[in-house]
């Protein structure tokens, strides 16, 4: 029982095998891709492993504290930011191997030509619970 984050990047991950920008796909290919993602999430709910899935808009703002009584400073979005998160899925699985298997399946979502994108997904473990028995 461990939670993992499957991170999908707009930028920052190594290039996918089938690396064609989405606006170059046919509308049917886009629909097929979306359907695959929905089916994947639905299947995970069915296996009792789904926790959450969210998508993020690409433009982000940097914000920081600027001292007592002053409004926060904002900056960006920066076109040159190397790592941009596109979205994530959180899964709750029995093993690391299972998490790898599921990330592999998600990376097989179809893209241009209806072929798998082979996109690199970043798999990050959540911190687990602090066990009661340690000695």
């Amino acid at each position: 029982m461990a939670k993992y984050l499957l991170l999908k990047h707009y930028r920052g991950a190594p290039a996918a095998v089938n690396d064609v920008p989405m606006d170059q796909w046919t509308p049917d290919e886009i629909s097929a891709h979306m359907q695959y993602m929905q089916d994947f999430a639905g299947r995970l709910e069915g296996t009792g492993e789904f926790v959450d899935s969210q998508a993020l808009a690409p433009g982000g703002t940097f914000v920081r504290y600027d001292g007592e009584g002053r409004p926060p400073v904002t900056d960006g979005p920066f076109a040159e930011t190397k790592d941009v998160i596109a979205g994530w899925m959180v899964i709750d699985v029995d093993s690391y191997e299972r998490a790898i298997e599921l990330a592999g399946e998600l990376s097989a979502a179809p893209g241009a030509g209806g072929k798998p994108i082979h996109e690199w997904l970043e798999l990050r473990p959540f911190y687990g619970v602090s066990p009661t028995i340690t000695e």
Partner: protein, 383 residues
């Protein structure tokens, strides 16, 4: 009856009510749903109108719910045949129903997370929502996990005895790896293990219950108000629950006297030696090392050897502990943290500080990460 008492009583009756439905011919999955429905109704109705015979009430209501659901089902005729053949209420089962439920819910065909969820619902009487909250997953996901688990064991015969070791592993997981939410999973694990001990006479069941009681006794002293970990050596032993310790020790002694040692008794023996000591210095570390040797022999687990190295460090000095550590795979979880601790005890603070920082990076949970970072910071501040 207060609502809390109500809930405790309800939940303690869950497995026997479910057992009765299954013995009357209801299939496990449908019976389990019916019992949950009856529990919900009881919570609603009992406060204003408490039944004279709570168990009888639950059996009657759950059976009616089962029949209603069955009649609404498309497979109605087949199941009604089963219902017609149902034995009269009150027939005595050959094997204890509650025990059979524990076996079924911990069946080896289930994954650990499924077995935990099913046990908490079918034996513990918790709702799907409560279990979902305890494991921080959506209720829909937990509902699916439980219904899949029920399908997985649907072909398992209810009257087949199971392996008590699988049940103990599930209960250990509930105790050791629950989040602290609305439902107190550690207390729930103790309740379920106590209930198991009442229906099966087995030294390892007693050993696990003793282990849980001994660790639960230290709970108040284990963390500060903000949730930071307090290591055993620094715990305020005056805050340990002496009643719980006394019960655990007594239970363990009775189990050990039967001379059928197992891993939970050995772990409990180690916990008992800690519980017995007024301070770290006055702890019988030599005997703790001996118990770790037993535990290593019983389990063959490298994690046990890692903990043994800490005990050796206390019994024979940090150099001896470090020597014991050298023999172990340094990719073991917490290996770096143990090395940091032993180097600190040995007076090599620079090495220890570096290792604490490294161990923090590898920590499996936030509380340990923060604790190890503080250890590194503490040593760095004094250099």
């Amino acid at each position: 009856m207060t609502s809390q008492l109500n809930e405790a009583l309800l939940r303690s009756l869950t497995p026997s009510v479910l057992g009765i439905l299954v013995r009357r011919g209801a299939d496990f999955a449908a019976a389990e749903d019916a019992v949950q429905d009856a529990l919900v109704q009881a919570v609603r109705v009992w406060p204003a109108d408490p039944p004279r015979d709570p168990k009888g009430w639950l059996v009657t209501v759950a059976w009616r719910k089962f029949l209603d659901a069955t009649r609404a089902d498309s497979a109605r005729r087949r199941r009604e045949d089963v219902v017609d053949e149902a034995p009269v209420p009150g027939s005595t089962p050959a094997v204890d129903d509650t025990l059979q439920l524990y076996f079924l819910c911990a069946h080896p065909s289930l994954t650990p997370s499924s077995a935990v969820a099913l046990t908490l619902r079918a034996v513990g009487g918790l709702t799907t929502r409560q279990i979902a909250q305890a494991y921080l997953v959506p209720e829909a996901t937990m509902a699916q996990r439980i219904s899949r688990a029920k399908r997985t064991v649907s072909g398992v015969r209810f009257d087949q005895p199971g392996d008590v070791a699988t049940v103990l592993r599930v209960l250990y997981l509930v105790f050791n790896e629950g989040y602290s939410g609305d439902v107190d999973l550690a207390a729930e694990a103790i309740r379920l293990t106590r209930q198991l001990a009442a229906v099966i006479d087995h030294p390892e069941v007693a050993g696990l219950l003793a282990l849980m009681l001994l660790h639960h006794a230290r709970r108040a002293a284990r963390t500060t108000f903000d949730g930071s970990l307090v290591p055993l050596a620094e715990q305020d032993r005056g805050r340990w629950d002496t009643e719980s310790i006394a019960e655990g020790v007594e239970m363990l002694q009775a189990a050990l006297a039967r001379d059928r040692l197992g891993e939970f008794q050995a772990q409990a023996a180690i916990a008992a030696l800690h519980a017995d000591a007024p301070s770290t210095e006055e702890t019988d570390w030599v005997q703790i090392v001996e118990w770790y040797d037993e535990l290593a022999r019983l389990t063959g687990s490298p994690v046990v050897l890692l903990n043994r190295a800490v005990a050796v460090g206390e019994a024979d000095g940090p150099r001896a502990g470090l020597a014991a550590l050298v023999a172990l795979d340094d990719s073991l979880p917490r290996h770096t943290a143990v090395a940091a601790y032993l180097h600190e005890r040995d007076g090599d603070l620079a090495t220890a500080a570096g290792l604490y920082a490294e161990a923090a990076q590898k920590a499996p949970n936030l509380a340990e990460r923060d604790h190890l970072t503080r250890q590194a910071a503490r040593l760095n501040a004094h250099r």
